[in-house]
Every structure is written in structure tokens, then in C-alpha cells.
Amino acid sequence: MRLPLWLAGTNQRRTAIRVAVLISLAFVTFAYVLLPVRGVGPSMTPTIQQDDIVFVNRLSYQLREPRRGEVVAVRIAGRSAVYVKRLMAMPGDRVAIENGILSIDAVPVEEPYVVYRAPWQLRPTTLGPDEYFVVGDNRGMPMELHDMGTTTRARLIGPKTFGIY
């Protein structure tokens, strides 16, 4: 079958090679580098809304350690079931929430991305050697309905790189 000129170009063999390379690149990118995640639920509002798509870089944490304040993907199960949360405290940090204000080592953290804030309370806790504290940006929802707490390094897949909102 001959493809139309506008699609195949003047050299169909070269076009076929380009298409194959593009398909291979897309496969490698989405299988091993970028993990697309669709926003489900209100816990990261307003940073990530329902049905927003964010892309997580799977390679980042192979090359460097996670950083406080990053939006990260936390593996729930399998390869692609994840939570998206903000990483707020690292191993050894003493984390607490007092009337909705999060503090690390008794110093309140400035969080411009938190727009909604309810008077949450979290007892001061020192994180263990492999404990990372993650929480969503929507602090206005009832605390008992919000999945937050500690996770392990092995469950941190990578940081959000960009999103489609």
C-alpha cells in the first residue's frame, strides 16, 4: 500500500525508520522514564485537580535523593497504582501539625501551595531512618479522610516533572 506523499514523504523507507524510532522512543519513555498519573480525588487540590495528568520522572531518584517540598509519586501496588503527595519531611526530622500549620523540627514551614487549611493536629513525631512524611496540599478536608503519613524510600517512585492541567 502506498501512503500519500504528505504522510510518507519523498523517501518511504526513511519515513518508516523514523516512525519505528519514534514508536520505540515513546515506548521506552513511558515504560521506563515518565509515568503518567491521572489526578483522582481532592487530596492534592489546588495543585492537582481531579483528572489532571501529571508526569513522574522514574529515573530521578535513581540519580539523586528525594528533596523536601517535591510533589512525588508513592507506589501503592504494582507498577502504576500510585498516590501523588507532597514530600514534607525526611528521615530524622521531627514533624508536627499544630492548628493546620506544619512544622519540621519545631520550625513552621511556609507552604504557599496550601490554599485550604483546617485546624489539623498531628502529634510531634521523629521519623525513623527509612521514614518519609508525605501529605496532600488540600489541608481543608477532614483529616481523617486524607491519606497522609510515612512511607519508605523504596515506595518513592520519583518527582512530578510536569503536568497537563
Binding site: V74, R75, I76, A77, G78, S80, A81, Y83, K85, W120, Q121, L122, R123, T125, F133, V134, M143, D147, M148, G149, T150, T151, R155
Partner: protein, 170 residues
Amino acid sequence: MAAALRPVVIAAALAVCGWYGWGYLFPDDEAEIRAVLERIAEGVSSGGEGGVSRIARASALRHEFSPQVTVDAGAPFERLTGRDAVIGMAGKVAGAAKHLDVRLDDVSIVLGSEGDTADVSLTAYAQLTDPAGGHGVDARELNAAFSKTDGRWLVRAVTLVRAIQPMDTR
């Protein structure tokens, strides 16, 4: 040359058939546990069949669980104790869905030193279509404890592996 090779080829083919035949007739513990998991996934799944066949399928799960089994699969499911409670919940979940496809993947089995217990970690995937046509997917990591009773591997406990551990509030 071809004639000389024929006995070798036949012997190799017989060896392969024997290997698979032996594994089929006398499955090892890991294969038996995987078969239990497959039957559970099949029993919990439903494809829009009628109530009677759905209940029959869920009831067949009776043979896969110990009578005192405990299941804590996380919200929205309550913690279940006892085989009847588990079968009742399986029937209820399947009945609430128009179509439910459950897969148990990433299975990793560690047999106990005595050979009569096993710890299994796995990922449960569920794809659900509700009667209104809405779609939902769920995935959760689970640990399952098995024990061998009268030659059969039975599920003794199922617990959810939480990706995020809740912390003390006040």
C-alpha cells in the same frame, strides 16, 4: 546424520513431556499456592451471570480458605473474620457489579521451614463496571498467609500492605 539424531530428539521430547507431566500431576507447593490464587481470582470475578451461578462460584471459594480466616483488605471493605463472612462479601461485591475482573499478580511465595506454611505477597487488581455503566479500577498490595491442612493449601490471613502508614493524631 538425521537418523542418528532421531533418538536424541525423541529422548529430549520425552524428557520435556515427562518434566511437564510430572509438574502437572504432582505440582509442588508453589504451584499449588498459585493455583489457589487463580481459583480465588476466578471465584471473585463475575461477568454478568445470574445470581445463582454467582453464588455457586463464590461458594466454591469455601475450599480455599481456612474456617478462621481473617481478611483486612483496607477501605472500603470491613475487616472480615471467618470463611462464611469472606464468601458472603465476595458474593456481595460481585453482585454489586455488572462486570468484575480480578487479577492477582506479582506473586512472590516464601515457604516456611516446616513446609506447611507460606507467606505470599501479591498485587490484587480489580476492574469493575457498575450497573449504570461506570468504570472503576483498583489495585492494592496484599500479604497472604497460607497453611497446609490435610494436604491442601488454605488461606489463613490476608492483610493490606499500606503504602502510607498513618501517624498519631491528637
